[in-house]
């Protein structure tokens, strides 16, 4: 297994308004890793992810994607991004297929869809179990179903790297399991994942490393923290029953 870095942040600082939100973050995500970015509200975890995709400008430091400086990086088809659900709502109805098709644009020339592109959109809808809702309006979906659509949109370009901002927020239990399963499949195929999470929850068995932020600084970078409080309660177990205790994620496929 290679250990080539896919995302590198070195001494990254960022401000929102004039308030410093990131105060010098170092973070490396290597090929095939699943890294969770944890922290309280306002700790800067979403901002950190948004600097990686270029949505928030950095005031100091360096960001690299797949070894290229972020500003020079052009191969966006390799990146699948799942924003917080609130950002994706238009004033005109759109079907599930139309929304997911946007995710395929990076693989097309001038936005012309071929048969293979339609197939890829269909496949990513099947991955999240939403193929039967393909022609429905996204407005008619529940929060969890909507989140599955946004993940399908990110998967439509068949990315090597998935960046997700709170994918489990406001998602019902059934959808959480579908999402965990989808993610497990992607990781099994060698995808690299950077997740912003409020709590580890059902994704815990998938996560290799947790980076905890507080006040814009890295507080912890290492194995995921032990479940405490209500997450350690016996009732928590039923959320991730698919993971065999001894099976580590398989890291072959796409990238190796």
């Amino acid at each position: 297994m290679t250990t080539e870095p896919v995302i590198t942040l070195r001494g990254v600082r960022a401000e929102l308004g004039s308030r410093p939100v990131l105060r010098g973050i170092d973070l490396t995500v290597r090929r095939g890793e699943v890294v969770a970015l944890l922290g309280a509200n306002g700790s800067g975890k979403s901002t950190a992810v948004r600097t990686v995709i270029g949505q928030v400008p950095v005031t100091a430091g360096e960001i690299e994607l797949f070894g290229a400086e972020r500003r020079r990086f052009r191969d966006w088809a390799r990146v699948g991004y799942v924003p917080q659900r609130t950002t994706a709502a238009g004033g005109v109805p759109a079907t599930v297929t139309e929304v997911v098709s946007s995710g395929r644009l990076a693989r097309t020339r001038f936005g012309l869809f071929r048969k293979a592109d339609r197939k890829a959109v269909r496949r990513s809808l099947e991955l999240v179990g939403m193929a039967d809702r393909a022609k429905d309006s996204v407005d008619a979906l529940s929060g969890g179903q909507h989140q599955r659509v946004l993940i399908a949109r990110a998967l439509a370009s068949e990315p090597d790297l998935l960046i997700m901002d709170e994918p489990m927020a406001g998602v019902d239990l059934a959808s959480q399991e579908v999402l965990a399963e989808t993610l497990r499949t992607q990781v099994g195929q060698g995808a690299t994942v950077l997740l912003v999470l409020h709590e580890l929850g059902p994704l815990e068995p998938l996560i290799d490393r947790a980076v905890v932020l507080r006040d814009g600084c890295v507080l912890h970078d290492g194995p995921p923290p032990k479940a405490v409080g209500q997450h350690a309660l016996p009732g928590h177990d039923h959320v991730h029953p698919h993971a065999p205790a001894d099976a580590g994620p398989i890291r072959t496929g796409l990238l190796s």
Binding site: I53, A88, S102, A106, T108, I163
Partner: protein
């Protein structure tokens, strides 16, 4: 059809068809990105172009196109750079544009504010053949952009942040949307008038939404409504001697009300059809016996 015997009516009807196509085609993206009033702002700015056209004796349509494109670019720049004070900057741009128009037209030899009224509210008899040429060229540009780049414009209008991560040139596409809207204002100016342009961009889209679930269908239905009301309004205006812009806008609003009234029973029928096609899946009601649900008397 004696209406087609007159050259000025042929020109007016051609212009009406092009307006009916282009205004909702741009409007659907403006509504999607929740900038429904953008067309109105550009309409105000275009008045300076009309005034300049009179002053310099150039084609008011082309001058309006140039000035409103510049205004649209300026509006996009304001949107990028001035976040908090953006709306004040836009207000200054709009009213500056309007005042500029009134000023220039009064400076023009023999010009007075009354010359402006055919541009503000639309007028059929004044559509000249050079206007028609300009309208055709500009409309071709609008159709090319709104249809040719529909997937890109959809992605940017739906979720700008995500569009950036797919590598789309987001700023360029935003600018292109604004410029296309500005060009559409110049296309529609002669028939509907600058003050009523925005209605034809927004209301057909709102009306179409009452029936549709997809973006593609909304686009198609909005254009169909746009063409129908533009042609219908132009013909009515000819026979009844009423102003075309006002007639078109009132017809559009009528279409909106009609489709809104139709939407509720249609949605109920669609839900029933869905329930019949997928028995067991997603029951629409909470365990109401099938025999009662089928007669439509019970339900949400």
């Amino acid at each position: 059809m004696e209406i087609l015997d007159y050259a000025f009516m042929q020109r007016a009807l051609l212009a009406a068809v092009l307006v009916g196509v282009t205004a909702p085609a741009v409007g659907v993206y403006l509504v999607q990105r929740r900038q429904a009033l953008m067309g109105d702002g550009i309409g105000h700015v275009a008045m300076t172009g009309v005034g300049l056209g009179f002053l310099l004796s150039w084609s008011p349509v082309w001058m309006a196109a140039v000035v409103s494109v510049l205004g649209a670019v300026l509006m996009e720049l304001v949107r990028w750079h001035a976040k908090a004070r953006g709306d004040i900057a836009l207000a200054m741009l709009f009213y500056g544009g309007m005042a500029g128009g009134v000023m220039f037209i009064n400076l023009a030899p023999g010009g007075s504010t009354s010359n402006l009224s055919s541009f503000l509210f639309g007028s059929l008899s004044t559509v000249s053949s050079s206007d028609v040429t300009a309208i055709c060229v500009l409309a071709a540009f609008v159709v090319l952009v709104t249809v040719g780049l529909r997937r890109q414009l959809f992605a940017v209008s739906q979720d700008e942040e995500f569009a950036r991560v797919t590598g789309l040139p987001v700023r360029f596409l935003n600018l292109l949307t604004a410029v296309t809207a500005a060009v559409t204002v110049s296309v529609a100016m002669r028939v509907v008038g600058l003050l009523l342009v925005s209605a034809l961009m927004v209301v057909p889209v709102a009306a179409a939404q009452q029936l549709t679930r997809s973006f593609a269908a909304t686009f198609a239905v909005a254009v169909a409504i746009g063409v129908s009301v533009a042609v219908g309004g132009t013909v009515t205006s000819y026979y009844q001697d009423v102003p075309p812009g006002a007639t078109i806008v009132l017809l559009t609003i009528g279409a909106f009300i009609l489709l809104t009234a139709l939407a509720a029973p249609l949605a109920r029928r669609r839900a029933r059809a869905l329930a019949a096609a997928r028995p067991g899946a997603d029951p629409a009601e909470c365990s109401i016996p099938a025999s009662r649900a089928a007669d439509g008397k019970v339900g949400a």
